[in-house]
Symmetry: C2
Subunit: 292 residues, 2 copies
């Protein structure tokens, strides 16, 4: 019987997310290695027992011994890495990722990938407003959603493997969506909310006003602290979905604005009742619940 | 020397806010009474020691013995109450309130009020998404803002009294703003954020999508549970300010949408950097801080 301790997992990109994966997997008993351009990150991770071994360059030995490779890179860097280094993959290896958009990434990489290696895409919906392996923390997976996004090219076995990876990492709800379904969903629940938070934070220059903020304003702008390099790339790769969600929100926001301008009290109350009813449904549904 | 225990305070409207005032004031040693249309609320408050005495009708004896009267009613009901019952006020009494909009309330009530009684307006920026005296809790004042909004009709003595009331209730930051300054500020930090939360909650019908929500969506919609009677009245009474803030937000949101549509990566990053920098200022400034 092959056991966890015989399985070698390589993490490419040892930031907050890669580091959190490493911590969880190492704790479970896997042999965990990492490649990251920053020597400091590798040194920190080895010194703190987050990984067993690592390299700041693409060491062919590390890549070729890995049974599974997890990519925690920005989308464009991920594609580039595959193009340049895929000859080193072990035959039969599984590849997965943590990328926040799917359609723009999955098909292209599956297209260029060697046929004896399988890429099964996933999106762990977890994070923090801080960066780097030093801040990594596998507690962020607790209660969170993990989405596997297979295509027709994926085998049942790889899909099951990827679902199981999400489970052992500690995610609460594991789902399977097509890349297209995933991107529509993420455009609404995550990207739209980040656009709103940024616009709310940047639309008013008055520091004076900000001094009077209470919990409402703080809640709505918590995610306005945003990594501009990562998020601008993710937004642009999911442009059509995000624009469509933004237009949908804008239309609703304008409708409420016009009810107000027209003194339509009943219309306003109706929107508020609907909003209250829907939000109450949430409070009954624990985060990550499978309730439908 | 007259002491706290000799001062009689009447609270009109014993809901969440009135009840929280009562609890705080009673604990400090004041003699606290209340008038509320619901006999149940009065009974509950007397039984639980939240007030010393109360009535479900406008009892002239309760009104005329009060040194100070705090109104925790919806704006229209507040005005109506003053018109019908002001003959009972004790000469020299102070009147204050908890109303969330000011210009539309303060001038009119000061206009109709007896000249031997002084109304000094205030807005305690505290609350909860629950209602009723049963849920009242003076811990909601901790760390919160309390705004006194005097007009030219107010005396220095009454303004000082009202500031002191905010302090002893436990508010962290006591400010003085004109009714107009208050309404502009509240349109931005509170009413706009509630409109955004409602629109986000009502713009998409898909329960399927909601199942994938994470912390971002939950944060942005916490305040989407909203009392439609109170908030529609407050929105309409501050219509001009709120519409102007909504238009300002919409313009910014559209600008971000168009940067996305045009693939303007640098523009997007610039907005995100500004947003991050401004939000970071918050995290350095504790809630209710006086830092400017």
């Amino acid at each position: 019987m092959e056991w966890i301790t015989d399985v070698k997992i390589l993490i490419v990109g040892l930031g907050l997310m890669g580091g959190s994966y490493a911590k969880a997997l190492k704790r479970l008993g896997f042999y965990v290695t990492a490649i990251d351009a920053k020597q400091d990150s590798i040194d920190y991770a080895v010194r703190n027992g987050i990984i067993d071994n690592g390299s700041a360059t693409v060491d062919p030995a590390l890549v070729s011994e890995a049974d599974a490779v997890i990519f925690a890179l920005y989308p464009a860097v991920f594609k580039d890495w595959i193009e340049k280094n895929q000859q080193h993959f072990k035959s039969g290896a599984y590849i997965t990722d943590v990328t926040g958009v799917k359609s723009a990434v999955v098909y292209e990489i599956q297209q260029i990938l060697r046929s004896d290696v399988e890429y099964i895409a996933a999106h762990p919906m977890a994070g923090k407003e801080v960066y780097g392996v030093e801040n990594s923390d596998d507690a962020i997976f607790k209660g969170a959603n993990y989405i596997v996004t297979p295509t027709e090219k994926n085998t049942e076995k790889a899909i099951k493997w990827c679902e199981s990876l999400g489970k052992i990492l500690g995610f609460e709800r594991i789902s399977v969506l097509s890349p297209e379904e995933h991107d529509e969903m993420i455009g609404f629940v995550s990207q739209l909310t980040h656009c709103i938070a940024v616009a709310l934070m940047t639309c008013n220059d008055s520091k004076e006003l900000v001094n009077y903020t209470g919990d409402s304003f703080r809640d709505l702008t918590r995610i306005a602290r945003i990594n501009e390099n990562m998020w601008s790339e993710l937004f642009l790769l999911n442009k059509e979905n995000l624009i469509s969600q933004m237009d949908c929100f804008s239309a609703e926001f304008s409708a409420i604005r016009n009810m107000l301008a027209n003194g339509d009290t009943e219309g306003l109350k109706e929107k508020m009742r609907l909003s209250t009813e829907r939000r109450a449904y949430f409070d009954k549904t624990p985060k990550g619940s499978t309730k439908k």
